[in-house]
């Protein structure tokens, strides 16, 4: 590390600061996937996934640590190709990711997502999520942002991603990464 007088140096990022933790797949008959046993070795988590529903589901949602009580909230902003729509949900049993799935009628086409969970193991504050995703079907589709809140100070040790009212296509893939502080 080069230190220049008057400037506080910081260590350069090292290989491995962004680490793959686990990968799970859809099976065609599972409506949810879960990352469990998440260690507290990281500062933040990122989940990247592609998903497709086997039926007519319209979005995916998140829950943490098997908590399905009304401890979640989210704000969203999305575009559907003709207008911009904003809204919010409060006292939910999950963090909704609106517009984040495609139906089985769209062959080979999947929705994509990048979700960041900041300070996931901090036990002094509630957990906040930022979500970015979308799907395009050549004539229809949605691009969306969401913020999500879990009103719990518990460290997150499991994450469940659920398809709304149906199952994940067997080519759906979910990747969990950890980011070191």
């Amino acid at each position: 590390m080069l230190l220049i007088p008057g400037i506080i140096g910081s260590a350069a990022p090292q290989v491995g600061d962004f680490e793959s933790i686990a990968t799970v797949s859809g099976t065609g008959s599972n409506s949810s996937v879960t990352f469990s046993g998440i260690s507290t070795d990281f500062q933040h988590l990122q989940i990247r996934w592609i998903s497709k529903s086997t039926n007519t589901g319209s979005f995916n949602w998140l829950t943490f640590n098997s908590d399905t009580a009304a401890n979640y909230a989210n704000h969203y902003l999305y575009g559907d190709g003709s207008s911009a729509i904003a809204g919010a949900d409060i006292n939910q049993s999950r963090i909704n990711l609106y517009g984040s799935s495609v139906t089985s009628s769209q062959a080979n086409t999947f929705a994509v997502h990048v979700i960041d969970i900041l300070d996931y193991d901090n036990t002094n504050k509630f957990k906040t999520v930022r979500a970015f995703g979308g799907q395009d079907q050549n004539g229809s589709g949605v691009i969306f942002f969401s913020s999500g809140l879990w009103r719990s100070t518990s460290a997150i040790n499991s994450i469940t991603i659920t398809a709304n009212s149906d199952n994940f296509n067997s080519n759906s893939r979910f990747y969990l990464y950890g980011i070191k502080g």
Partner: protein
């Protein structure tokens, strides 16, 4: 610890160019991230096509804010994906190409464009092809990418 997030290639433009190409992209990663930082001839979206396919196999949906209002639009049966945003003032775009080497699924791209002088946007784009992506060709609808612009392609590798 295996490398998980690493640069594949970067280019700094020594002169204005209409297109920039990343070719011979290895299929050894899970996702690609394209970062564009620089200027273009005028405010406009970046345009991508993959491999050598310039047929009407692309589509996209955009959400954008112009400083006065938010709106959404789309393009269907296009010859490119519109994604990100550039302008005459310094801007940046970050574009995610997920499961790019998968030969089972069509390819979906999401990206954010940050042109502080004009527009902030978010896009999703579809390439209706199950071919693995080995080449990305980047242009801008407004004209040339300008001297000094930096484009970097990263790869993320899952376990």
């Amino acid at each position: 610890m295996p490398k998980t997030y690493e640069p594949i290639a970067t280019t700094t433009l020594g002169s204005a160019q209409a297109t920039v190409t990343f070719s011979s992209i290895p299929g050894t990663y899970t996702d690609l991230i394209l970062v564009i930082d620089g200027t273009v001839a005028a405010d406009g979206s970046f345009r991508l096509y993959f491999n050598t396919d310039t047929a009407s196999n692309y589509s996209w949906t955009q959400l954008y804010g112009s400083g006065a209002s938010a709106a959404s639009n789309r393009g269907s049966n296009d010859t490119r994906i519109s994604v990100g945003r550039g302008g005459t003032s310094q801007s940046n775009s970050i574009i995610q190409v997920q499961n790019y080497a998968n030969t089972t699924t069509n390819k979906t791209v999401i990206g954010r464009g940050n042109n502080s002088g004009a527009i902030v946007n978010a896009n999703v784009g579809l390439w209706r092809s199950t071919a693995a992506i080995s080449q990305i060709v980047i242009s801008n609808e407004s004209g040339n990418l300008q001297t000094g612009s930096v484009l970097t392609l990263y790869g993320i590798k899952a376990a």
